[in-house]
Amino acid sequence: MDLLNGFVALANFVLIPAIAYGSQLALGALGVTLIYGILRFSNFAHGDTMAVGTMVTVLATWGLQAMGVSFGPLPTALLAIPIGILGATALVLLTDKYVYKFYRAQKAKPVILVIVSMGVMFIYNGLTRIIIGPDDYRFADGERFVISARTFRDMTGLEEGLALRTTQVITVITAIVVVAALFWFLNKTRTGKSMRAFSDNEDLALLSGINPERVVLVTWLIVASLATVAGVLYGLDKSFKAFTYFQLLLPIFAAAIVGGLGNPLGAIAGGFVIAFSEVGITYAWKKVLTYVLPPALEPDGLVQVLSTEYKFAVSFVILVIVLLFRPTGLFRGKSL
């Protein structure tokens, strides 16, 4: 019984939050990795692309709510996601046309593109703050829990409760659907195959008649959609704040690099590695250990390795460890 209680506590405080967070990171890292594979630079503006997509979704959600539209027990924001994707895509394509295209034509060095993306990051960040403001916004509505801690306790008779929030379930289901669709697209469709070919060997792909501008266009479309979905899921789970999204850049990049930059499978694995270590290391294990260990060994302290403020340190340390021992990441990077 104690073991079961311990497991429920573990699931409630570590497994479920980490799976949800990991899915969000994985979606973000997929965007970074796709840009790296096709456009060949590290996009510093990715966090702010997520912010823009989410902002448009939030605004659309407010609009829908004002019109009295609701999605039953599900958050209204899910209905607004297509509008958010549209907004992010429009912005990203405009940016590509007026900013990145010039450097692509020049065949500029990747590091120049990274600096350019710094400029884009400033602009997106400023836009978000100007349009919606720098504050914290909660936009999740509908049913809060699938199973609340109390229901779970009544149902099973266990001491520990297991709360399953709607947003967590939505996050995981959406992530699975999106990732499945992405892999189907990359592996089965003509356009997807041409993207992979382009990423593998640009010259060969050009020789075989693949239109590079089309590949780039499709990449931006996918990246904007992934970024918006990732951003909205994160915002539903926590809240929307421009600065937080900018800060997500670090764990997202860590996830992409840990998995192997340019490798979509790696991005997903990396997202979960980072999420599980972040949650696991900043969680106070006292509760779980009290159930699992015999009373004599019960810990006195919180058994928390690092306080939650240090979660960035965790992504960073994992990043460094992986880079030192496997410089190309867990999965071989640089090919789609």
Binding site: I115, M118, G119, G126, I130, G133, A254, F312, A313, L319
Partner: protein
């Protein structure tokens, strides 16, 4: 010629601020411009001269700020008695653990290697926490409203500037040892992470510098305005210039700060110029332009990169110490990467990477714009919204959004300069 003209233009902008707004704000811009120029010089050394992509400037700047607290604040003797020894011992044990783990890793092989290293780390960490935690608690319990930290050494504040440089250099050495040699994108992410960690430590380790409770009232290298106003001789002299005591004292203090900062900037600029033109500088540029060729010529690329990374970070640390001295307080909550890392990058890119004078120019120019975009934006917005009815939702929102204009403007400036002057306003010669 171009250099002289552009510098004259920036000087004109700052003088214009003096005539149109007030000399106090002009001097404020000048002082922060001097500090920004020093930071830009540090980044330019790393990026312009060696091609190292360091986006962790914020961390080194914050370490410089920490040095000011550690050097200049008086020690809190009660806190030292409560747990100073324990904290020092804990830190030594923590360092010893890492050294031991590295040694085990280096000296053993096979299965023993992984498990041995992990075991040493685990045991070491437990002992470290057992020693450190109670002492930290004891220290933080000492008069938490005013102290709750160990305090500093009580030395003159000017000493903190070189120490800030040393602190940043030490951190840069450790980071460089692990992260240099990685590809440039990886180095960028690694430094970005380091900067966040430094800020997290400053925010959370209250025993060190009070965390988010901030350390205020840092000693100053210049007299206080109040003392000057109470000094009859000073007021008399000020009256000779036709100024009242209050204005004269604030201006006097700012000028003195400005002279100190200018002295530091000039020394560092001369040193950077000498380095740039020396055989060492030529070697660095050779490495930057073609690493493989330089390595084939027998240059130790990794060692040179480490060297220049440490030097550049040290300069950022000095600038950070200067800034905290000017502010008179250390507020870890105010460090944001957009302001302290990416803005410095805009300065270097706009000024001209690889050109020290360019970096200095960029420092002044971008800082001036960073400060002045808000009033200019406000003026613009008032014009745009002039036709709208008062109290309308859109008008309020537009006027409110002016405070966020500067980020947008900086992005546009960066993109425009990259497109029109890819090598910056003052290109490398």
């Amino acid at each position: 010629m171009r250099t002289v003209l552009l510098f004259a233009a920036v000087a004109g902008l700052i003088l214009g601020t003096g005539f149109l707004q007030s000399w106090n704000s002009a001097l404020l811009i000048l002082n922060m411009g001097l500090i920004s120029a020093v930071m830009a010089l540090g980044v330019n050394l790393q990026w312009g001269l060696a091609g190292l992509f360091n986006v962790g400037v914020m961390g080194f700047v914050a370490l410089g700020g920490l040095a000011v607290v550690l050097i200049s604040m008086p020690p809190v003797s009660a806190a030292w008695q409560a747990g100073g020894g324990g904290i020092l011992l804990g830190l030594v044990l923590g360092a010893a653990t890492i050294v031991a783990a590295v040694l085990v890793w280096a000296r053993t092989s096979g299965k023993l290697r992984g498990w041995g290293t992990a075991g040493v780390l685990l045991v070491g960490m437990i002992i470290y926490r057992m020693v450190l935690d109670p002492s930290v608690e004891a220290v933080e319990a000492v008069d938490p409203a005013l102290a709750g930290y160990l305090g500093g050494l009580g030395l003159p504040v000017l000493l903190a500037w070189p120490v800030g440089g040393l602190l940043a250099a030490g951190a840069a050495y450790v980071i460089g040892k692990t992260a240099l040699g990685l590809r440039s994108d990886y180095l960028a992410i690694a430094t970005l992470g380091i900067a966040e960690i430094v800020i997290a430590i400053l925010k959370n380790e209250d025993w060190l510098a009070r965390g988010v409770k901030n350390v205020i009232g840092l000693p100053r290298p210049v007299p206080y305005e109040v003392d000057l106003q109470n000094d009859p001789a000073f007021v008399e002299r000020a009256a000779g210039f036709g100024l009242d005591g209050t204005t004269a004292s604030t201006i006097y203090v700012k000028v003195e700060y400005g002279l100190l900062f200018a002295a530091v900037l000039i020394v560092l600029l001369v040193l950077s110029q000498l380095a740039l033109k020396s055989p060492w500088g030529r070697m660095m540029r050779a490495i930057r332009d073609n690493e493989t060729a330089a390595r084939a010529m027998g240059k130790d690329v990794t060692a040179r990169h480490l060297q220049v990374f440490v030097l550049g970070s040290a300069i950022c640390g000095i600038a950070g110490a200067m800034m905290t001295t000017l502010d008179g307080q250390l507020t870890p909550g105010s460090y944001q990467p957009l302001r302290y890392t990416f803005l410095i990058w805009v300065m270097v890119i706009v000024g001209g990477s690889g050109n020290n004078l360019g970096a200095v120019l960029g420092g002044f120019l971008i800082w001036f714009l960073w400060v002045q975009v808000e009033p200019i934006g406000h003026l613009l917005m008032s014009l745009i919204t002039a036709g709208m009815t008062d109290g309308s939702w859109l008008k309020a929102h537009l006027l409110d959004s002016v405070q966020h204009m500067r980020l947008l403007t900086m992005g546009i400036i960066l993109l425009l300069v990259l497109r029109l002057y890819p090598r910056g306003l003052l290109p490398e010669r």
